[in-house]
Symmetry: C2
Subunit: 716 residues, 2 copies
C-alpha cells in the first residue's frame, strides 16, 4: 500500500481529529496573510517582526515547544500546571473515555470528574509525547543513497539509513526517536520525544456540552462547544512536574490580538504535484466517501440493536461522521476550479523556473513526469489498495499486526516495515496489549461489512477475497472468526507476540490462522506500493523540494507530518453575506440556540448545563475564531498570546477551512477554539470542578512572569 | 414615464418597506408549497383544506379583512384592540417618527412613549385605509374599450372608464374608491376603503432595538429586532372602536403551525413577460442601483456636517440602504440562470398552449411580441426616464405637484393623471399640505445632487437639462431655487393650490417658476410612456392573462398591487450548510450577539435594552420565520394563527427571499416576523408600557371567542 493512501486510511480510522489541512497556493509561499505551519527550526520570525513587532526570545521558543504535548492517537495538548495537568479536547479524549466506560457507567455521556488524586483514572492505551530536540539529518540520509541504482534499491537504502539513525538515537538517549521526512523528502529530521504512558483522566464534560449541535454543527461557526478534557501525567506513580507549562491568561483571547497555535497538524497536501491532487480528487476521496458512508450506516445499524450497542459505537459514529464531512469539504476544494487553477499556476511557475537553469532542468526537470508515471501505476491498483480494507474493525487488524510483528522483528531493523522499527516497537506494543474493551458482537458485524465490501468491489476471483473468504459467505466468515478467537484478551495477544514465530505458527486461533492466510497478499501489495510508488515519490519529491528551496529559500514551510508546528494568526470574525460573524460566542448564545430549537436534539443543553444555567455568567466568552493555519491533528492545541499564556484550545475549523488541506485562505476560513474563560466558567459553575480551575489559575496569579519561573522536580 | 418604471421609483423613494417580491415560476402556478398572495375574492381554500384541514368561515374571512390596515405611505398594519390601537413595524412608522422629531427631541433614537391618551401625538400626514368591499368591474371596463382603435385611444377609453367607476363609487359611498388592475390587466376590481387621517403615535421603541444590527443584518436571519410600533386611530377627536381587531395569542407562533399573513404586498413581477424581466435586469435595476448608491453617499455626506444634519436624514439613509440591498438581491435573482430558465420555460409552455388553439393563437398569440416591441421602445428612452430624477428631494416634487394639480383638476376626471382623479384627490391634498418639517439645507444639497446627475448622464443639450438649469450650474440652480422658495410652508402650498391656475401662473416663487418651466417636458415624457408603453402593456397583458385563466383557471393569484392579500405558510426554520437555522430567536440571542461583538455598533444594545436586560426573560421568543409569501409593502402585516389570533408582525424577508420579486421558493427563503411574546416582553420589561400590553392582552383573556364578539360604537 502506498504511504499516501495508507496514511489517509489510518487517519480516517483512528483519528477523531476535527481539524483540517493546509497548502501553499501561490508561489512564492508566505505571500498570504498568516499562512503556515512552521517547524521550530524555521519559525516565521521575519513576518512576525514586520507585521506585529514581535520577536520571540529563545526562551519563549523553548518554553512553548516543551509545554506542548502530542496525543499519539491523533491530537495535540499542553501542560497547564506544574503538577502534570494536561489540557486537550473532549473529542481527543473521546476514545479513552469510551474505553474506560461500560454498560454500567457511561463517561462519554455523563462526563468524568475526579475530585481527588485517587479518583483520577488511568487510561488503557494513551501515549503522550513531548518533543525534546530536533536535528537535521538530511545530509546523512542522502549520502546513504546511491543515485545510480534503481528507485527500489535507493528507497531501501534510504529507509535503512533512517532506521539506523533512529536506533542509534534511541539507544543513546532512551528517547522515542523518529526520522521525519519534511518537504516531501526535501529534508530529513531526527525528532526525539519524551514519552508518557501513565496518563490519567481528571475531568471531561458531558459529550453533549463538548459536542453541542452534533454532526450538523460540526465544522461550523458560530459554535457553542465546551470541547475540553483534562488529564494528568504520571511517572512512577506520581504526577510529573514539568519545567514548562502554560499559564492561564486572565482575560483570554481578545479581538484583533496576535495568537499562536502550537500543535501537531496531521497531514496536508499543499506541495504535492497536480497529478497527485488529481488522484486524490478522482480516486482516493470519492472512494473514501463511499467507504465512510457504508461504515457510518453499519454503525447506526449496530446502534439500533439496543442502548448498550449504541453506547459502544458512540465514538466510532462521531469519527466516521467527522471524516465524512471533512472529506466532503476537501473534495469540494479539489473540485473548485479557482483552487486547482491557482495550484496549477504555482506548479507551472516552479517548473518554468527549473527549466530556465540547465543544471536544474537536467537533474530536476523530469521529477514531475516521473511522479505522474507512478500515479498512473497507482491508479491501476487503486481498487485493491482501497477495498482490501478492515476499516472500522479492531480484532482483525490486531491479528494481522501479531502475525507481522513476530516475522518483522527477526529482520534487520532497517528492512522492517516502519511500525516495527526498534524506535517504534515500544509504542506499538503499548497499543497491541491495550486492555481497552473489545466487543465481539460489534467486531463480527463490522468484519462482515468489510468482507462483503471486498467481495462486492473486487469480485470473488481477487486473491485477497479468495483467501479471506475461502468460499464462505462474508457473514459466515465473520461469525466463525470472531466466535472462535481469543484475541479480545490482551493476555492472549501478549502470549502470541512473546512466543514469537513458533507461537504464532502453532496457533489454532481462527483469526490468527486467517491473518496468516492473507499475509502474503497483504505483503505483496504493500511492498509493491513501497517499491514502485513511495520510492519514486520520495526520491523525486526530494528533487522538487530542492527546486523550491532554490526558488524561495526557507520562506516556505513543509506539509504537515503530525509533528510539532507553530502557526500564528489573529483573533478575528469574518464577513458573511452582508453581515459579520463575530469573533467569539458566549454562554448566552448557547442558551439561546437551545431555546431557539425548543431544546430539541442535537441542539439541547446537556443535563448539567440545563441544571446549572442560572449560575453561569451569560456574557462569558465560549468559543472564538482566529486565522491560525491548522489541520486535523491540531485538535487540542493550545492557543497562546504573545506572553505565552493560554487563551484557548483549538477544537475545529469552520466549513470554509475545509479546503486548507490544499490551500490556505483567510477570507472566511477560521480555526475555532474554546475560550480560556469558558473553560474556567464551565469547570466552576457547571461541573463543580473548582479544584481544577484553581490549579489552572492559582500559580499564574502568584507569578506574573510567565516565562521565567518554574518549580518542582522537572521531568524535561 | 411608463407605469412600470414610475412605480419602481416611487416605491424606492417613498417606501421603507423592508420586504420582498413574489412570482409564479412554474406553470401551472400553485404547484409550489405555500406560494401565493391571494385576493380575498379568490382565497386558496382548496390547498388549505387539503393540506391543513382548515376551511376559514365567511366570518373569519370578513374579520381578518376588516381588522387589517393599510399604511398608505408603504406598509401594512392591524387593529389590535377595540379602542383603535394599531400595530405595525417601527420602520413603517419611521417616516412619521422622523417628522415629529426635532433637534430637541429625537423620537427615532429615543423612542416614543405615550403613557396617557393626552400624550398620544398626532402624525402630520399619515393616512390609514381599511378595505371595506371589493367588486369585479372587469366586464364594465372592457366593454368601454373599442378593440378596433389604436392602443392610445383604447387606453384612453380604459382609463376614462376606470375614473368613472371610481367617481361614481366615491360619490355614492363616501369611501375612497380605486379601480385595481389585477393579473396585468386581466381583471379590474373596484376596491373601497374606509380612510383614517387622524392617527396618533402611542409607542415606538428606540430605533436601535427595532433595527438591531443595522444595514448589515437587514434582510438576514437569525435576527433580533423588536421592529414594532403602535398607533391609535381617532375620529372626531375620539378613538375609534373597530368592530374587527386581532386578539393577542397567548403562546404566539409555534414551530410547524399554519399561519396567515394579511397585508398589502407592493409589487411583484411574477407574471411579466421575459422581455419585461430582461429590461429590469439589463436596464432598470442596474441604473437604480447606481442612483441609490449616489444618493446614499449624498445623505452620508450631509450627515457628516453635524449631529442635527445626521438626525434629519436617518430615515432616508435607512430607506436607501434598504432599497440598495433589496435591489441587489433582486438583480441577483434575475441573473440566476435557474430562475430565468424556469421563467422562460413557463412562458414557452403558455405560448405553446395558446398556439395549439387556433382562436387563442389568433387573438392572443401576438401579445408577447407586441409587449416586446414596446420594451424595445422603452429602452430607447430609458435614460430620460431614469435621469430626469428628483429622487431623495421633497420640495421640488411638491412644486411639480402643485403646478400639475391646478391644471389637471380643470380636465374631465377621466383624462387626468391617476393621482389627480377625484377619488384620489383627498389623499393627495393630505400629503401636499402635510406640516411635516422640510429642511432647506438638505433640500438644496439633494436637489444639486439630482441636477448634477441629470447633467452628467443626459448632457447639457437634453431638453430637460436645458430647462432645469437654464445655463447655471447644478449647485447655483439648487441654491437659488431653495433659498428663494416659500414652499416649505404648508400654508403657501395650500394658498397656491386653492388659488388654482391664476395663483400658480402669477407666482414668482422660484421653485414654482422652475416647475412651470419643466412641466412641458415632464408631460411629454409621461404621456409618451402612457400612450406607447402602458397602453400596450395593459391591453396585451389582458390577453396573456386570459390565456392563463384558460389554462389554469383561478388557481393563480395576481402580481402584487399594494392591495390586501392573504398568504398562508408554516412557521419553520430551514437548512443551511450542514446545519439548521432555528425557527425562532430569543432575547438571550440578542444579548449574546451584542456580547459577541463586544457591544460594538451596529451590534450594540439600545440604551434601554442594556439598562433593563436583567428584567427580561431570556428564553422569550424574539423573532421567527415562516414560509409565507410576502414582499415589500407587507411590512407591518399581522401574522395570525387559524383562530385569527395575532402571533406576530412581519418585518422582513431573509436574503434568500430577495428573489421572491420574480419567483417563490421555500428551500431557504422565509418571511421574518417579530414574535407576539417579544412585543409583550418589550412593552412590559424594557419600555415600561404595561398599559399597552394590558390593552393587547386584556379583552382577549376575558373573551375566548376570537371571532364572534365586538363592542363599542363600530366604525366599520
Amino acid at each position: 500500500m502506498s504511504t499516501r493512501t495508507c496514511l489517509r486510511i489510518t487517519a480516517a480510522a483512528t483519528s477523531c481529529a476535527a481539524l483540517l489541512a493546509l497548502a501553499s497556493l501561490l508561489a512564492p509561499p508566505g505571500a498570504r496573510a498568516e499562512e503556515g505551519m512552521w517547524t521550530f527550526d524555521n519559525l516565521p520570525l521575519k513576518p512576525l517582526e514586520e507585521k506585529y513587532g514581535f520577536t520571540p526570545s529563545p526562551e519563549w521558543i523553548e518554553h512553548v515547544q516543551r509545554a506542548a504535548v502530542r496525543f499519539n492517537d491523533g491530537g495535540s495538548g499542553a501542560f497547564v500546571s506544574d503538577n502534570g495537568l494536561v489540557l486537550t479536547n473532549h473529542h481527543v479524549a473521546l476514545g479513552q473515555l469510551q474505553k474506560v466506560s461500560s454498560a454500567k457507567k457511561d463517561y462519554v455521556k455523563d462526563g468524568f470528574y475526579a475530585h481527588a488524586a485517587a479518583e483520577e483514572m488511568k487510561c488503557p492505551d494513551l501515549e503522550l509525547n513531548v518533543l525534546m530536540s530536533t536535528e537535521d539529518v538530511t545530509a546523512r540520509v542522502l549520502v546513504a543513497i546511491q543515485p545510480g541504482l534503481p528507485p527500489k534499491q535507493q528507497n531501501e537504502q534510504r529507509r535503512a539509513e533512517m532506521a539506523r539513525i533512529e536506533k542509534e538515537s534511541t539507544d543513546s538517549t532512551g528517547l522515542r526517536s523518529n526520522v521525519i521526512e519534511l518537504y516531501q523528502g526535501g529534508e530529513y529530521w531526527l525528532y526525539r520525544y519524551k514519552k508518557y504512558t501513565d496518563v490519567r483522566l481528571v475531568m471531561a464534560p458531558e459529550q453533549q456540552a463538548a459536542f453541542y449541535g452534533g454532526d450538523p454543527d460540526n465544522f461550523t461557526y458560530p459554535r457553542f462547544d465546551l470541547d475540553m478534557a483534562f488529564f494528568r501525567v504520571y511517572e512512577n506513580g506520581k504526577p510529573v512536574h514539568p519545567r514548562h507549562w502554560f499559564r492561564w491568561s486572565r482575560a483570554g483571547a481578545k479581538e484583533g490580538e496576535l495568537v499562536f497555535v502550537i500543535g501537531n497538524p496531521g497531514r496536508t497536501s499543499r506541495q504535492e504535484t497536480m497529478k497527485q491532487l488529481e488522484h486524490d480528487r478522482d480516486d482516493v476521496l470519492p472512494t473514501l466517501l463511499q467507504q465512510f458512508e457504508l461504515r457510518r450506516k453499519a454503525f447506526y445499524d449496530y446502534a439500533a440493536r439496543g442502548p448498550e450497542q449504541a453506547r459502544q459505537v458512540k465514538d466510532r459514529i462521531f469519527g466516521f461522521e467527522n471524516e465524512l464531512k471533512r472529506s466532503t469539504g476537501m473534495l469540494e476544494g479539489l473540485r473548485d476550479p479557482a483552487l486547482m487553477g491557482a495550484r496549477a499556476a504555482a506548479e507551472r511557475a516552479l517548473r518554468a523556473q527549473v527549466s530556465r537553469d540547465p543544471k536544474l532542468a537536467r537533474e530536476i526537470g523530469p521529477a514531475w513526469d516521473r511522479i505522474a508515471a507512478a500515479q498512473a501505476q497507482l491508479e491501476r491498483r487503486h481498487k485493491e489498495l482501497s477495498y482490501r480494507s478492515l476499516l472500522g474493525t479492531r480484532l482483525a487488524p490486531l491479528a494481522g499486526m501479531i502475525v507481522r510483528y513476530v516475522a518483522e522483528v527477526q529482520k534487520p531493523n532497517g528492512q522492517r516495515y516502519e511500525e516495527f522499527r526498534d524506535s517504534n516497537l515500544e509504542s506499538l506494543r503499548f497499543r497491541l496489549f491495550s486492555p481497552a474493551p473489545i466487543y465481539p458482537e460489534l467486531e463480527e458485524h463490522m468484519l462482515a461489512v468489510n468482507l462483503q465490501e471486498s467481495l462486492d468491489e473486487l469480485g470473488p476471483r481477487d486473491p485477497y477475497v479468495k483467501l479471506a473468504l475461502g468460499g464462505r459467505s462474508p457473514r459466515e466468515t465473520a461469525h466463525e472468526l470472531i466466535a472462535g478467537t481469543k484475541l479480545a484478551d490482551p493476555a492472549e495477544r501478549r502470549r502470541l507476540v512473546e512466543g514469537g514465530v513458533p507461537a504464532v505458527q502453532a496457533s489454532t486461533d481462527p483469526l490468527i490462522e486467517w491473518a496468516r492466510g492473507i499475509d502474503p497478499v497483504y505483503r505483496e501489495l504493500r511492498d509493491w506500493g513501497r517499491d514502485n510508488i513511495e520510492s519514486v515519490e520520495k526520491l523525486e519529491g526530494n528533487k522538487i523540494a530542492r527546486a523550491r528551496f532554490a526558488a524561495y529559500g526557507k520562506s516556505i514551510y513543509p506539509d504537515a507530518t503530525f509533528t510539532l508546528r507553530l502557526s500564528y494568526g489573529t483573533v478575528a470574525g469574518y464577513p458573511q453575506g452582508t453581515s459579520r460573524v463575530p469573533y467569539k460566542t458566549t454562554f448566552g448564545g448557547l442558551f439561546d440556540r437551545a431555546a431557539s430549537f425548543d431544546n430539541k436534539p442535537p441542539f439541547d443543553l446537556s443535563p448539567l448545563e440545563a441544571q446549572r444555567r442560572a449560575e453561569v455568567s451569560l456574557g462569558t466568552p465560549l468559543d472564538f475564531v482566529s486565522t491560525n493555519d491548522i489541520i486535523g491533528g491540531n485538535s487540542g492545541s493550545p492557543v497562546l498570546n504573545r506572553d505565552g499564556e493560554l487563551v484557548g484550545v483549538v477544537f475545529d475549523g469552520n466549513i470554509q477551512s475545509l479546503v486548507w488541506d490544499y490551500a490556505y485562505t483567510d477570507a472566511q476560513a477560521r480555526a475555532v477554539s474554546v475560550h480560556s474563560s469558558a473553560m474556567l466558567e464551565g469547570l466552576r459553575k457547571i461541573y463543580r470542578m473548582g479544584s481544577v480551575a484553581d490549579e489552572l489559575q492559582g500559580p499564574a496569579a502568584a507569578k506574573p512572569q510567565a516565562l521565567t519561573s518554574s518549580q518542582g522536580g522537572s521531568q524535561q
